[in-house]
């Protein structure tokens, strides 16, 4: 038995050493990035629904958003790349306008947009990353930092990753970490503000507008003390070439969040408290209260199969769960169809489902005696289907030029997403890639 174990151990050592020897053989070193590359990304997004979280689970969710992003990748030398990523997103929302629905221009109603300042906002972000590859291109590390800002939210993030390639670059293992240290500027529904340090029901809002239903309106409201929100993520990714036409990957992401995880302007209504209204608008009984910690786990896998020069199959599956009681499955398939050497068509389908968070209650179903409650339907039980169509134009010779930049690719895609509720969105995404002439 001892002889057999010795023999096997020797075999194992020889095998491992052979693998390492294969990976350390010096080969020609190609630049990791030949020239400057610039990507322009944009999208136009619209959504509809009847369960606005700003008005406690009832109301219009109409929203439009336009986003523009530029990504510049600059080769600093043979081994290093500097990447700068900057974007702006401008949205207009009937839902968020009802943070303050009493604009006096029309009857306050959760299904009608008000003209309040919260009806629109701009989110902007910038991130800078640096990546270094080893001479043999089997090791890669990167670091990045990011800043993002909108009217009621500011974010600072940083992170890094390490990637190791094995087995003649057939196997790739990546580890990545990221940290976001964010701060809310808490904005509360207008009818609640007088009930902390103000004159409560004697406020002009209630004097000038008749309160119907329960005239003794007395909501449960205390502003949040801690407005920080921190997120810490750790990820592992393993990719493997399985065949000269097939490759796959497995990913695991672990995320911990702490701090203010509630959204300060999202209303909640209690079924054990009599309802109060101004015009058609149900006055908040409280704001969303969620735990100040959350732990998320996502496990995903991809399998891509190059069937022939005309068809490729791209598949993805993810299982997610967290300690708020949510479990979900995501499945998607995309079939790139090469119509010619320049044009590719992208039909796709995606299915998603999730269970409800432990703290979720539909509109007007929460209890005032609960510690945590939300009527944000993004945390409810639902399933969703998404279909997509897209087209890509690729010119590897970059014949078309804009100044010193050759046009390499144009992508245009459309997606339609529908839940098994009234919520749905449409999005058009576009991308243009330029490469700088050498």
């Amino acid at each position: 038995m001892k002889q057999i174990l010795t023999y096997v151990f020797t075999l194992v050592c020889i095998s491992v050493n052979a693998q390492i020897q294969k990976d350390t053989i010096q080969t020609y070193k190609k630049r990791v990035l030949e020239t400057v590359e610039v990507d322009f990304l944009s999208s136009y997004y619209t959504q509809e629904g009847d369960n606005a979280s700003v008005s406690g689970g009832i109301g219009t969710e109409a929203l439009t958003d336009a986003t523009g992003t530029i990504i510049v990748a600059i080769p600093l030398n043979d081994d290093d790349i500097l990447t700068i990523d900057a974007g702006v997103s401008a949205y207009s929302s009937a839902s968020s306008s009802n943070v303050g629905p009493f604009d006096g221009q029309q009857a306050a109603d959760p299904f009608v947009a008000s003209s309040g300042a919260s009806s629109s906002d701009v989110w902007s972000s910038v991130s800078v990353g640096f990546a270094h590859s080893s001479d043999d291109r089997n090791k890669l590390w990167s670091v990045n930092t990011s800043f993002a800002s909108e009217y009621d939210y500011f974010s600072v993030g940083f992170g890094g990753s390490y990637t190791r390639l094995f087995n003649e670059k057939n196997t790739e293992l990546s580890l990545n970490v990221s940290v976001f240290l964010d701060t809310w500027t808490a904005i509360y529904p207008t009818e609640l503000r007088p009930f902390y340090g103000g004159n409560g029901i004697n406020n002009t809002l209630f004097v000038n507008n008749a309160v119907t239903g329960n005239a003794n309106y007395n909501p449960q409201f205390t502003p949040f003390n801690n407005v920080q929100r921190n997120s810490y993520a750790f990820g592992i990714n393993l990719s493997q070439i399985l065949h000269k036409n097939i490759q796959g990957s497995l990913s695991l992401d672990l995320v911990r969040q702490d701090g203010l995880l509630s959204t300060p302007f999202q209303r909640v209504y209690f079924k054990d408290i009599a309802d109060s209204f101004i015009e058609n608008f149900h006055l908040a009984d409280a704001i969303e209260q969620l735990p100040n910690e959350r732990f998320k786990v996502a496990i995903g896998g991809r399998l891509n199969w190059y069937i022939n020069q005309n068809i490729t199959v791209r598949t993805f599956y993810r299982y997610y769960f967290d300690d708020w009681g949510i479990n979900s499955n995501t499945v998607s398939i995309e079939l790139p169809l090469k119509l010619s050497d320049k044009f590719t068509f992208y039909p796709s389908f995606r299915f998603y489902n999730q269970s409800s968070a432990d703290y979720f209650s539909p509109y007007n179903e929460a209890l005032s005696t609960d510690d945590y409650y939300t009527s944000d339907y993004d945390l409810s039980n639902y399933s969703a289907n998404q279909i997509g169509f897209g087209c890509s134009y690729t010119d590897i010779f970059t014949k078309a030029h804009l100044w010193k930049f050759g046009l390499k690719a144009i992508d245009l895609k459309f997606y339609k997403y529908d839940r098994n509720t009234t919520f749905g969105f449409n999005i058009i995404t576009a991308g243009v890639k330029f490469v700088m002439d050498n």
Partner: protein, 71 residues
């Protein structure tokens, strides 16, 4: 029992050499842009929309949390 142990140990030892090795000159199809094991850049805003509107995040190269006042 001895023979089974030898068989198992041999399979384990040789399995380290049986990982697929596709040579660089055989990777033409693997290196096709549509075979990349990540989302296309033009789909970034779609992935962001999913992370805003769905509880699940992660394992897809997109946001995992932070950077916005979303879930």
């Amino acid at each position: 029992m001895k023979k089974n142990n030898i068989l198992i140990a041999s399979v384990l030892a040789f399995s380290l050499n049986s990982c697929v090795v596709v040579k660089e000159y055989e990777k033409v199809n693997i290196n096709d842009p549509d075979m990349v094991l990540s989302e296309k850049k033009c789909d970034r805003n779609l992935i962001t929309a999913h992370s805003y509107r769905e509880a699940a995040v992660g394992a897809n190269g997109g946001k995992t949390g932070g950077g916005c006042g979303c879930n």
